[in-house]
């Protein structure tokens, strides 16, 4: 049973457009929601993260929107650039120190930004 569901699996966007990736979770104990970016041949790297006490967090062109009641969160990439072409993973974890401090990942979205 996948606890974090991510969509779409792939996304093609024109340069300058907006990329939107959605995630839904089931476990209401999750209290930390990061997004990871992965380039081919590399390990995932933290992009931006949010906690459920805020509804939105913005860092540069990247914004997380969080809807606690719907148990959903999304990543928006504004003014998408070819260098943003990568695979993006949403994730969630339960409070630090509990059950191994584990991250549960979504299935990933491959984003291609066309010039």
């Amino acid at each position: 049973q996948q606890q974090v569901k991510q969509s779409p699996q792939s996304l093609i966007v024109q340069k300058g457009g907006i990329s939107i990736i959605n995630c839904a979770y089931e476990n209401t104990a999750f209290d930390y929601f990061p997004w990871y970016q992965q380039f081919p041949g590399k390990g995932p790297a933290l992009l931006i993260a949010i906690r459920p006490d805020v509804s939105e967090k913005k860092e540069g062109r990247f914004t997380i929107s969080f809807n606690k009641s719907a148990k959903q969160f999304s990543l928006h990439i504004m003014d998408s650039q070819p260098g943003d072409s990568a695979t993006y993973f949403c994730a969630a974890s339960i409070p630090r120190g509990a059950a191994g401090n584990k991250l549960t990942f979504g299935g990933g979205t491959r984003v291609l930004v066309k010039p």
Binding site: P34, G43, G100, K102, L103, G108
Partner: protein, 110 residues
């Protein structure tokens, strides 16, 4: 890269043989993790460790074992490799809330 080194980076092995992957960290982090990455499945947790000799299973632990005899090393063993274990394996450490990943090991079981 948070001082994480995975070895080997690539390996081809035959079905039924044991395989050990190594994760080495240089910064004495308590939590270490092994994930596998497969298309459409994201990263799935195999095993994790919360200290020397302290390990526990993740969601896809069948066919895998781990050992952590030193803080800096976390070993993943495929006891008898099968084709379904062909994957990219990532080691990670957890520092506060953030996870840092190694470069990955691409394992092919033929």
């Amino acid at each position: 890269d948070a001082g994480i080194t995975q070895s080997p980076r690539h390996k081809v092995t035959e079905t039924g043989t044991p395989v050990t992957l190594r994760c080495h960290q240089t910064e004495n982090h308590r939590y270490m993790y092994w994930y596998r990455q497969d298309p459409g499945h994201g990263l799935r947790l195999i095993h994790y460790s919360y200290g020397v000799k302290d390990t526990d299973k993740g969601e896809v632990s069948d066919g895998y074992s781990v050992s952590r005899s030193k803080t800096e090393d976390f070993l993943l063993t495929l006891e008898s490799a099968t084709s379904s274990q062909t994957s990219v394996y990532f080691c990670a450490i957890r520092m506060n809330t953030e996870a840092f990943f190694g470069q990955g090991t691409r394992l092919t079981v033929v």
